[in-house]
Amino acid sequence: MTQRVYLFARFERFWHWSQAGLIIFMAVTGFEIHGFYTLLGFEPAQELHTIAAWALISLWVFAIFWHATTGEWKQYIPSFDRLFAIMRYYSVDILTGAPHPYKKSRLHKHNPLQRIVYLSLWVLINPALWISGALYYYYNDWGPWGLAPYLKLEYVATAHVVAAFLITTFLVIHVYLITTGHTLFAYIKAMITGWADLDEDSAQES
């Protein structure tokens, strides 16, 4: 039996979807700035990327505050419990219809693989993006700030681009894994409404 559980609070859903939109938009404009293609033109792409950057940074600040105050940050504490089983599940076992090796609950709404990936987003890729992005933006202030001797624009840009490739890769896989719930749309529904169908036994745990 499954049970409906309110898994994602309103702020969390707002944060998730606006972040998703912004990151897709920033990938589109960012890789245009990078010179891969011409879509909006360099100047609009650059201006919109900058506006989106400020929006994303603000969003992150709110999200960090929210996680800190609600204690939800604990959801990202890494665990290696059945990590390989989960990896095997997503790559092979899922084809045979075997059950998911991890049971979600209100207290553990991310499986260990998710926890590790989301945590590395929070502590590695996001900071890499916004630190390199902010340095990039303030290039002309490196002199007055005393940073000029330590930085070169090509290195900052390259760090930014590498992080952008990584987050885009995450995005691709993430979007695909959304379709691996009980039904094709189960996960996406949960992130829209906040309510998820969890297995009864695990739901009781909470």
Binding site: I33, G35, T38, E43, A55, Y139, L153, F165, T169, V172
Partner: protein, 541 residues
């Protein structure tokens, strides 16, 4: 600015960019009351000293100097007079009297002919007295009738074809060879685009030939061609920027300023730099905030002069002397034109290539230029650079500048490995345009310059770089970001600088694309597999 302000500013910028039509900021017109007043405190046509006939330019000058009794001292100190410039930094003695270029090459043995553009009255012999006050040609700069320079050119009887490569003999009769100096003297005034242009538009023997950003189209420029000089643009004349005090004019091609750190100069006027009027943060607050971030490394000219020779006058991009001197079967001089009517071959000047709307080349430049002179050894194996613009990405004084590159092939002393001058003008057998004998013409020029000549003539490819400063387009005509910020943009060959869009580490791009592409292919394959398995199962069921 706070982040929020930044967001608002960016949104506002986008809105303003979309809505604002480019607007010409014309000089405010004179009020009716001002316009009713005399234009100057002195009307020269009323001076009794000038109410008579003058036999010559120097006689007129004597009259000028009777009131302006310190003028000659000032003028004698000017580069317009001396044609000599000592570069304190490089120690080189330069100026028209010393440099060699790939157009008419050298003044040596051509002095009186080149001197049609010198501000002297009668430099007609090889030797000229640079200390004679009465030789100062006031009209060269102060004529207001627009007729003087042409008459001055015709005082000296050279071959007509020296200037008019092809000319109409029937019109030659109408040429005025003796200006009415009295009439001209009674109408003197301030220098204008026309007086400056009479020489500077025609550098090296014809309209627009050398510079490409200076030609007669500027006399009636639309604001799109030149925001400064257009009458319905800013309506400025040369000396508004090339501020002249005590007859010393600011701005120099021998020692230009690549970057002017001093900014706006409200009381002192222009230093012939963009910054002295436009400041160090020239773009308005409403514009893209990144524009002002460019000024540390990009000269204003780079974006604001999108192309040169935009006014309909072509400029020469290559001048090949090695083919000069050919005659047709009948022994006559040859002139060949292209389908646009430009002379691409003439017996006198060899082969030429021309361009309009020419995209400049871009180089790092810190304001220091080294020139080759007749004294320097050259390496005839490669292309000889007649002037070398110093600068580079690691030099904070350098910015990226637009330059016109004039390529050429010109005679050298093959044995001594030096550049040479050529006596082009004149009516004797040593003049190249008379006898087409390289040996004699070079020997005459080198003798005049006091340099040795082995008698062995060779030819070498040469290149000259001329920084571009004029034909400044208004905002609407400037480059847009993508012109440089792209994979093969205008800066693609400029070394040592990264800017977004340029691309740099192709390996990282490749790995990144493989990663994203691999992930995409992986999930698609996985998805297909899932669907296939599902169908197999439901088929079995």
């Amino acid at each position: 600015m706070s982040p929020l302000q930044k967001i608002l500013a960016s949104v506002l910028t986008l809105a303003v960019c979309a809505l604002a039509a480019p607007e010409a900021n014309a000089k405010p017109p004179l009020s009716a009351a001002l316009a009713a007043l005399p234009a100057s405190t002195a009307d020269h046509s009323q001076f009794k000293e000038l109410q008579r006939e003058f036999e010559s330019g120097s006689e007129l000058t004597r009259a000028c100097l009777s009131c302006h009794n310190q003028a000659a001292k000032q003028v004698h100190a000017s580069k317009h007079w001396k044609w000599e410039f000592v570069n304190g930094k490089t120690g080189q003695t330069l100026g028209k009297r010393h440099v060699v270029n790939n157009t008419l090459m050298s003044i040596a043995a051509n002095g009186p002919y080149c001197a049609r553009c010198h501000i002297s009255n009668e430099w007609t012999e090889a030797k000229f007295d640079f200390t004679d006050p009465n030789q100062v040609d006031c009209l060269a700069c102060h004529d207001t009738t627009g007729t003087y320079t042409s008459m001055k050119m015709h005082q000296l009887r050279s071959k007509c074809s020296a200037c008019h490569v092809e000319f109409d003999k029937s019109k030659a009769r109408n040429v005025v060879r003796r200006p009415d100096f009295g009439e001209l003297g009674r109408h003197v005034g301030k220098p204008s685009l026309q007086t400056c242009g009479a020489c500077h538009f025609n550098s090296d023997g014809g309209n627009g030939i050398k510079h490409g950003d200076l030609d007669s189209s500027l006399l009636n420029a639309a604001p799109e061609l030149d925001a400064h000089m257009a009458k319905d643009g800013a309506g400025l004349t040369c000396f508004n920027c090339h501020k002249t005090r005590r007859h010393q004019t600011l701005g120099s091609r021998y020692a230009p300023q690549s970057k002017d750190p001093k900014g706006k100069n409200v009381l002192g006027g222009s230093r012939a730099t963009c910054e002295s009027c436009h400041g160090l943060a020239p773009h308005p607050k409403t514009a893209n905030a990144k524009l002002n971030d460019h000024v540390d490394r990009i000269a204003c000219q780079t974006c604001h002069i999108p192309a040169i020779a935009r006014g309909g006058v072509p400029t020469k991009t290559r001048w090949d002397w090695s083919s000069a001197g050919r005659l047709d079967k009948a022994g006559k001089e040859i002139i060949t034109r292209d389908d646009k009517g430009r002379i691409i071959y003439s017996t006198q000047r060899g082969s030429a290539e021309w361009a309009e709307n020419l995209v400049p080349d871009y180089v790092w430049f810190n304001g220091e230029v080294k020139y080759l002179t007749l004294n320097d050894k050259i390496n005839p194996a490669g292309t000889v650079r007649l002037n070398v613009l110093s600068g580079g990405p690691d030099d904070p004084k350098s910015r990226i500048w637009p330059v016109k590159t004039l390529r050429g092939k010109q005679p050298i002393d093959a044995e001594n490995a030096t550049l040479v001058g050529v006596r082009l003008f004149g009516k004797d057998e040593n003049a190249f345009w008379e006898a087409y004998d390289w040996n004699k013409a070079i020997a005459a020029s080198m003798a005049d310059a006091g340099r040795p000549f082995s008698g062995k003539v060779g030819f070498v490819e040469t290149e000259m770089r001329i920084p571009v400063n004029h034909m400044v387009a208004p905002e609407s005509g400037a480059l847009s970001c993508g012109d440089c910020h792209s994979r093969n943009g205008r800066m693609a060959t400029v070394p040592g600088i990264y800017y977004p869009g340029r691309g740099i580490y192709w390996l990282i791009d490749l790995l990144g694309l493989l990663l994203v592409g691999g992930a995409l292919a992986g999930v698609l394959a996985h998805g297909a597999l899932r669907i296939a398995v599902k169908f197999r199962k439901s088929g079995k069921a």
